[in-house]
């Protein structure tokens, strides 16, 4: 899932400073599951903003709405009729959600209420860890299902660096060395020999180095686009 966390209240207050009527829009998908921007968090933030702006002497109208998935046009349609009532909208979706809303409803400004952090999983309740960097060329088959791009601080492809001590990365005592994990996993799978194969320098063009990425599936596109 996409993992995000709420921006500090003061930062959000600064963003909405010039607006009188504000709508908070949550997202019912990833950010609900990571407790950052679902209905409950929208409710809590709206209440906090109402109270805080009132205490500041410029109480604002802060209303709430949550869509199932901000990153798809059709789920945002119910928002359309509400937007005229507000000066500004704070999206509690990920960065994709915020941009989708700005693109879909250009007559209104949508600002981010969250900081989108990474793609990962909850390793225990209340703890999320990064697992995928969306590099665009998956090599998990070669590394026993453990990603050195997302989990090695140096994104090394051919084993650990000198900063790996007793299975821990030098950057932080609670960060395991990805290559230690990869080695142990390969050992468990009886595939140590596969790690001996030298990996060439990674082609980063499929990642951010190639600019914004796009996937086109002609088999899924509708005929209408050819007539445009």
């Amino acid at each position: 899932m996409i993992v995000a966390e709420q921006k500090p209240l003061n930062e959000i207050k600064t963003m909405i400073a010039d607006a009188e009527r504000v709508l908070l829009v949550g997202c019912g998908t990833c950010v609900t599951v990571c407790f950052a921007g679902g209905t409950k968090e929208v409710d809590l933030l709206a209440t906090s903003l109402r109270m805080s702006t009132k205490l500041d002497g410029n109480g604002k109208v802060v209303d709430e709405f949550t869509v199932q998935r901000q990153c798809e046009w059709e789920y945002n349609e119910p928002l359309k009729e509400k937007l005229d009532d507000y000066d500004l909208v704070v999206s509690l979706g990920c960065g994709v959600g915020v941009q989708t809303l700005n693109e879909q409803f250009p007559q209104k400004q949508f600002v981010p209420g969250l900081n989108t952090a990474f793609m990962g999983l909850p390793t225990e309740q209340g703890v999320w860890e990064e697992r995928c960097a969306a590099c665009g060329n998956c090599i998990l088959d070669k590394t026993g299902g453990i990603c050195p791009i997302a989990r090695c601080a140096k994104q090394l492809l051919n084993g650990p660096c000198g900063g790996s001590q007793n299975g821990v990365c030098e950057i932080e005592s609670d960060v395991p060395c990805a290559w230690q994990l990869i080695w142990e996993r390969a050992n468990d799978l009886g595939q140590i020999d596969r790690l001996m194969e030298l990996q060439p320098a990674k082609d980063w063009r499929t990642s951010r180095d190639g600019g914004p990425r796009k996937i086109v599936r002609e088999d899924l596109r509708l005929v209408a686009h050819e007539e445009e």
Binding site: M51, S52, L55
Partner: protein, 70 residues
């Protein structure tokens, strides 16, 4: 008592949540002392009365919730 809960670690989880609410109140601009968690058993009547007295004194010192007057 703390850590000794019918729901196992329930009151330890509750303590962290109360601390979160206290910080949230501060962030909003209210006093964090307006919420407090105290552990005691059902047999601690005197301590309960004292805790209630202490909390009342704290709230009187802070004053009424300014949001109610607005």
């Amino acid at each position: 008592m703390e850590g000794d809960c019918h729901y196992l670690e329930g009151n330890l989880n509750a303590r962290r949540r109360v601390e979160y609410v206290s910080k949230l109140l501060e962030e909003i601009g209210l006093e964090g002392q307006r919420v407090r968690m105290i552990n005691m058993s059902s047999a601690m009547g005197a301590q309960f009365a004292q805790a209630a007295t202490d909390m009342t004194a704290t709230i009187k010192e802070i004053g009424p919730n300014p949001l109610r007057e607005m």
